[in-house]
């Protein structure tokens, strides 16, 4: 992009990169630099991801045989609960926004930092505190309610550490709210001159939509978990029918946040994919404005579909009908995105670099996740599929096949920017392939198991389900290797990797104009934007302008 001064990439400058601007532990733990905070988040969510992954492996090993033989039932229940709590609240929700979003949003809009650098650091500390509470509960014996904390089991019958886990999630929620708030204000107030709304990268659009959900939805889960804690400790009759409460009320409150939370997890991933597809086809994303508004559409509609988690609880048939219809409508903007990404490949310059492999894998897996999602939104079909492994398979296709594929793709795309180093090509392509194959082998059999009727959260199961469970466990081991490999070669690249240069992919976007890794305040020159997003071809300019005007 043109700036008032020529980009200074490649010229040795008299200032350190953000990685070399101070070395002591204080320079990291008291930093206000969004890029360093992103690295802090990256390290902490990796720890939680590893922990959640270990729980997943133990779950899969237990399910290798129909008998409950590896661990006891009570242990198994704690394993899947902690797997869910850690993966959802401490990995997936912060994953892309708090790492890639934190690192890139200021760079992409030409700003020096986020609007509130201190609040940004505070949000990381709050996250660590919440994680600490949850780990404390884990070490003292864990919690066995499932990540959904359904009442009255959680309030009166569970003998796990429900309250401390709930407090952990409650605290971590504030971190999410503060990050969302910071992003919204940053996008409104910190854009460089000329960076209009319709010149924003789609990554920023999707993070803007995500931030809205974070701000509006998270307080509800905080209130809900507080109510669980109050009923459990003070015996207040909120959810327990013996005390005059309503257990279904909890489910409404819980899913009022936790369904939109699915979009907190997947929308940033969609933003990453838009960036990857544009960069590795060297082409403007097909239907930029449609894709941008579909993010907002998903965020708004996402608040109106929570009742599809309650089709078999005994909620009114009319409510169920409305929720079914709205759930299907929310699939339309998702379908639009998939078609637009695919269309972007047409007449593009398609490269097979590692991040692109992840992006293409995402499109395939997210398509399956989305289509099975509308299946279970179909009322008659949900009667059979509710609470079975079909649900497990569906949301892992969205969360793992979607969000984590996007996260890995984004990490591989921006890693040269974050560290200034290139990673080994062959190993990284191999890991993308292993993850894709391992993922499908793990979760596709679970669709079959679910249709056969195997209920979720079962420690023992009828022997005729064994073959599919063995396949799934085999897939999980491949998937595990696929996730360990990047950890090895990315760390290796930090020491031995080749210098990346400012723009190793030949990509468009302000983040590729500054040096790799960027200086503490991101740009050495005042940024002024005078072209559209993803303007790879000069003749694209007129078309893009036209589209921006129509919007």
């Amino acid at each position: 992009m043109n700036s008032t001064q020529a980009p200074t990439a490649g010229i040795a400058l008299d200032r350190p990169s953000y990685l070399h601007d101070g070395y002591g532990w204080k320079s990291w733990l008291l930093t206000k630099d969004h890029k360093r905070i992103a690295i802090l988040y990256l390290i902490s969510i990796t720890v939680f991801f590893a922990l959640g992954g270990i729980f997943a492996m133990l779950i899969r090993l237990e399910l290798l045989t129909p008998e409950g033989d590896l661990v006891q039932a009570a242990t198994y229940n704690r394993l899947f609960t902690m797997h869910g709590v850690i993966m959802v609240f401490f990995f997936l929700v912060p994953s892309i926004p708090a790492t890639l979003g934190n690192f890139l949003i200021p760079l992409m809009i030409g700003a020096k930092d986020l609007a509130f650098p201190r609040i940004n650091l505070l949000s990381w500390y709050i996250y660590v505190l919440g994680g600490g509470f949850t780990l404390w509960a884990l070490i003292h014996g864990g919690v066995d309610t499932g990540w959904t904390f359904y009442t009255p089991f959680s309030t009166h019958y569970s003998n796990g550490y429900v309250v401390s886990t709930a407090i952990g999630v409650f605290i971590a929620g504030f971190s999410s709210i503060l990050t969302g708030l910071n992003f919204v204000v940053t996008v409104h107030r910190m854009r460089a001159p000329g960076m209009t709304w319709f010149r924003l990268p789609l990554f920023v659009w999707s993070h803007y939509a995500t931030s809205l959900i974070m701000i509006l939805g998270t307080p509800v889960i905080a209130v809900t978990l507080m109510m669980v804690a109050v009923e459990r400790t003070l015996n207040l009759g909120l959810f327990d029918p013996r005390l005059g409460g309503d257990p279904i009320l909890f489910q409404h409150l819980f899913w009022f946040y936790s369904h939109p939370a699915v979009y907190i997890m997947v929308l940033p991933g969609m933003g990453v994919i838009s960036e990857l597809i544009a960069a590795f086809t060297r082409k403007r994303v097909f239907g930029y404005t449609v894709v941008a508004f579909s993010s907002i559409g998903i965020a708004v509609l996402g608040f109106l579909v929570w009742g599809h988690h309650l089709f078999v609880t005994g909620e009114s048939v009319y409510a169920a009908t409305v929720f079914s219809l709205l759930s299907m409508l929310v699939a339309v903007p998702s379908a639009i995105k998939v078609f637009n990404w695919t269309a972007t490949l047409y007449e593009g310059s398609v490269s097979y670099d590692t991040p692109m492999l992840y992006a293409l894998g995402f499109i395939g897996l997210f398509t399956i996740g989305g289509l099975t999602g509308v299946m279970i939104a179909t009322l008659g079909l949900d009667l059979h599929l509710h609470d079975t492994y079909f649900i497990i398979a569906h949301f892992h296709y969205v969360m793992v096949g979607g969000t984590i594929m996007a996260y890995m793709g984004g990490l591989h795309y921006w890693w040269p920017k974050m560290t200034g180093k290139l990673y080994p090509v062959f190993a990284s392509r191999l890991s993308a392939l292993l993850i894709f194959v391992g993922f499908n082998l793990t979760f596709f059999p679970q669709f079959v198991l679910g249709y056969l009727g195997m209920p979720r959260r079962y420690w023992e199961y009828p022997p005729e389900y064994q073959v599919w469970n063995v396949l799934s466990t085999a897939g999980a081991s491949v998937l595990g290797v696929g996730y360990v490999l990047p950890l090895c070669y990315l760390l290796y690249s930090m020491v031995y990797g080749k210098q990346a240069g400012a723009n190793p992919w030949g990509a468009k976007g302000l983040e590729w104009e500054t040096t790799s890794p960027p200086p503490t305040y991101n740009f050495d020159y005042p940024v002024v934007v005078d072209e559209e997003a993803y303007e790879y071809a000069p003749d694209a300019r007129a078309a893009a302008r036209q589209e921006a005007h129509i919007a």
């Binding site: 699939a331 998939v338 398609v350 398509t367 009667l383 079959v448 079962y458």
Partner: protein
């Protein structure tokens, strides 16, 4: 450690609902396969055809009009609306039991299912029913939320404490089918399993006669409770009594006007609430003087009382055994032992 090497793809079908659910699934599967393959083929073709040929190459920008966006928004929308309508239709059909359904009762607790037949036979974890009969199962829980799920019937219904939910099915194939608790309910959740044993009418009759000691029907037990709990002293049943509470003749299924305006449908939920929390909704013209029976009657006794109240509209007061199904009283046939299912399960009473 193979227990058995079987690789099933679809569960058994034992009801008409199961066949319709499978048909719906088959259509969705076809739609999904079409779109997944479409996307996959397009991606592979574009990947190969438009692969980067030299390092500085950039993509062309298409000048496509909005028609492409419109097509791929509208086509999925219409497919989804059609599937939504089909799914909603089945859901509505499945929501309300057809007339003539025979009423069974179930109580879930950590970690077992307790069933009660119309004739008062009780079973744990296994439910024996005759083939071809429409069964309406009214359910409640003594503790946490459970869920009654039978994959062969393609059905699932949560079982909630403090409330009644119902499910109905008409199995058309004899057999033994898995019963699962589908809502996580604590340590032994995966052992809250059992079976639904669908039997020929003859086998069922034999089973009823020879299996668990046939007890009194829920309504008969309810009638006795109505006496022993002294409900009759206020809700008078005969002429000449000084009533302190509204008559319960024919109350079930009718609108009841309430003190302070409004009305309520006297269904299972309302009757239950009025026994446990009498002051919650007081019938118009009466004083809230009834004591609570919370903690004094069990979930099963509540079921019996309600079953009794439901007979009052149609049967004479104090009538018992009004809902005995045909075959209950027939003598055991010769092949009783041979026709017993493999796993009848423990029984009570």
């Amino acid at each position: 450690m193979w227990s058995s090497f079987t690789m099933p793809f679809f569960p058994e079908q034992a009801t008409g609902t199961a066949r319709e659910v499978d048909a719906m699934f088959a259509v969705w599967l076809a739609v999904s396969l079409f779109f997944t393959l479409l996307i996959a083929v397009l991606i592979v073709v574009f990947m190969v055809r438009f692969r980067r040929r030299h390092p500085d190459e950039v993509g062309k920008t298409e000048q496509a009009g909005p028609w492409l966006e419109i097509i791929w928004s509208v086509v999925p929308l219409f497919i989804m609306l059609a599937m939504f309508a089909w799914g909603a239709r089945l859901f509505f059909l499945q929501h309300k039991a057809p007339p003539g359904a025979v009423e069974y009762w179930a109580t879930g607790k950590q970690w077992m299912w307790k069933f009660e037949h119309p004739d008062g036979s009780r079973e744990i974890n296994h439910l024996h029913i005759p083939v071809g009969q429409t069964v309406k199962l009214t359910m409640t829980s003594e503790d946490v939320i459970h869920s009654f799920g039978v994959p062969a019937f393609r059905l699932k219904q949560d079982v909630n404490p403090g409330a009644y939910t119902a499910v109905w099915f008409r199995p058309d194939r004899p057999g033994t089918y898995h019963l699962f608790c589908d809502q996580y309910c604590g340590a032994e959740h995966s052992r809250m399993v059992g079976s639904i044993v669908v039997m020929t009418p003859e086998d069922y009759a034999a089973w009823l006669a020879g299996g668990p000691a046939a007890g009194q029907s829920p309504a008969a037990v309810g009638a006795q409770l109505f006496q022993s709990l002294a409900c009759y002293t206020c809700h008078e049943m005969g002429p000449g009594w000084m009533a302190r509470g509204p008559s319960l003749q024919g109350v079930y299924g009718h609108q009841v006007p309430l003190e302070g305006g409004g009305a309520v449908l006297a269904d299972e939920a309302y009757l239950r609430e009025s026994i446990l929390l009498p002051a919650a909704k007081v019938v118009k013209g009466w004083q809230p003087i009834m004591p609570t029976y919370q903690g004094q009657v069990s979930e099963e006794q509540l079921i019996d009382l309600i079953a009794y109240l439901k007979t009052l509209g149609t049967a004479p007061a104090m009538g018992t055994g009004a809902v005995n199904p045909p075959g209950t009283s027939s003598p055991p046939s010769g092949g009783t032992a041979g026709s017993m299912p493999a796993a009848p399960g423990p029984t009570t009473r």
